[in-house]
Subunit: 331 residues, 2 copies
């Protein structure tokens, strides 16, 4: 089985590649090769049991080698994130919309050449919805995005579902919750602080909290997100019909819940979080729904979420040392 | 007030231009000029009280003169229709998606140059929904298109709503029902037969009916569609918030209802309709919802629909002679 990951240099792509390398198979089928594509050449995962090809390039000029003939699975994670797409409209549209159209083209060429349409796993986002703090969205909730990133993701979902219906590819479109705890550094996602208020104190660093403690969000851990991506990569899509989009079973938590979990894992750490209200950030994340009722995802076999304390412990186990090293911080 | 119509050569664009010419104003404001753009140079409306500029070109290479500086209202009707977009994926995507992005660019340039963001009236479609014969869709129904045309229209809605939120334009996005009775000739819309079973018998011609008499559809007359476009062009959008899409108050009717209305207007005419089942056409239109509960549109001031017999009589009054002349048929 040949797999390509687009946006493989991001933390989710790196974790997914590492999981593939560790497992060596997907379901019962061995992985025969893995292609990793990103703007900068992505690092290969440690100790792969199969050949790994790494490749740098622009998504909107997608080289054929990024999705070579014989590709069974494409995991398309490449994106310009929310605050950046809001700040740079042209760049967001270019990558999030036109880049996705290039991915459709590439899959279509494989299918037209007589290959099986590849499974296409795409990460859409909770940011494609509005509804705000009191919302509990059902599976048939409409996407009324309050930011350009969300609009581009929702539009991409429509075009990918149509490409799937036409047989160019076989799509599973995951509207990922806000991922917590992201390793590494703060990024330009409006939701970056959700990870920072856990990660930075665990590194011994202060960090700003732009929203009040009562603010709620729909979250998922990197481990669970990788589980979902893997399930999406090999699940049977026959039961999905025309609707290829899934709201996976994340976790609703308030900032206070998150700080309590932080204190449970490392007492005193929450004191490093400074309240620093930011109206611009609050306006973006405040429009995202804080909860879903993800019945369909559970029926389709997506794993339910683990408790918040486990999420914090997993970051400490999986990512704290590497983040410290990456950022040149003393252990 | 300066108005541009894109896709002005189509029957709806021609009717809208004729209405503007007759009225000479929109709300209380006089129309100062009208620009008509289409692939082939559109005909100017009869007896305009203001200058009319006609212009031929490709939507995806939209000339600046199509939306000149100072434009207050853009009515974007240009599209590749449903059966054609299904037959030619690239063409549908090019016009329905990339063409609409060019319209956004043009409006954004006007707004960036210091102009007021133009009102942008866009025609989306009932074909962007699925649900089928038994559906009665609420205002918050999700678009899960079963055809490429519908997917492109729904994606365009998302991008236009986002452009509206960003202040590039001020959008009202109308999901038009199937328009009955279209004048002229059959076209490549999968829904073409809904008009043909009324128009062709009134011209004394036979026509094929690809679905059974019990088949229901969500319809609107050209007169009412023009009323809605005009309302969308000058209504106050403040009450719309982020959601710029409207399901206007169409009319649910079965083929049997339509043939009964035809018989009421011209006894014996329904005998010219031949049952000729067509699985491909039936599959496309069979996925479209047959009814909506359009509460929001009524609250926003969109006029409710007139009865079916009036629709047939209006075609006879407005379009029968011109259609006969256009097609070289004896009166």
């Amino acid at each position: 089985m040949h797999i390509s990951i687009l946006g493989a240099g991001g933390f989710l792509g790196r974790k997914l590649a590492a999981r593939f390398a560790r497992q060596g198979s997907l379901g019962a089928r061995p992985i025969s090769s893995l292609t990793l594509f990103d703007l900068a050449e992505p690092p290969p995962p440690p100790h792969p049991k199969f050949p790994v090809h790494t490749l740098a390039g622009d998504l909107t000029a997608l080289p054929e080698a990024a999705i070579p003939p014989g590709t069974d699975i494409v995991v398309h994670l490449a994106a310009v994130v929310s605050a950046q797409a809001e700040a740079d409209y042209d760049l967001g549209l270019k990558v999030n919309l036109h880049g996705t159209l290039r991915v459709i083209d590439a899959c279509r060429r494989l299918a037209a050449a007589g290959g099986k349409p590849p499974r296409l796993v795409f990460t859409s986002s909770v940011a494609s919805f509005s509804g705000g703090q009191d919302a509990v969205l059902a599976d048939d909730a409409r996407q009324i995005p309050a930011n350009s990133y969300g609009a581009e993701k929702a539009a991409a979902e429509l075009l990918l579902a149509d490409a799937s219906r036409r047989g160019f590819l076989d799509a599973v479109l995951l509207r990922l919750p806000t991922i917590v705890v992201r390793p590494g550094r703060p990024n330009r996602a409006a939701s970056s602080f959700f990870s920072a208020i856990l990660r930075e104190p665990l590194l011994g660093l202060g960090t700003d909290l732009p929203v009040p403690d009562s603010f709620a969000a729909w979250l998922a851990s990197p481990r669970r997100a990788v589980d979902w991506l893997i399930h999406a990569a090999w699940m049977d899509t026959a039961a999905m019909g025309l609707d290829r989009s899934v709201n996976p079973p994340g976790l609703r938590a308030t900032v206070a819940d998150m700080l309590a979990a932080l204190e449970a894992v490392q007492p005193g750490a929450a004191a490093l979080v400074r309240h620093a209200p930011d109206a611009e950030i609050a306006a973006i994340v405040g429009a995202w729904p804080a909860a879903f009722a993800p019945r369909r995802a559970l029926a389709l076999g997506f794993a339910p979420h683990e408790p918040l304390v486990e999420v914090v412990r997993a970051f400490v186990a999986d990512d704290l040392a590497a983040t410290r090293a990456e950022r040149g911080l003393a252990a």
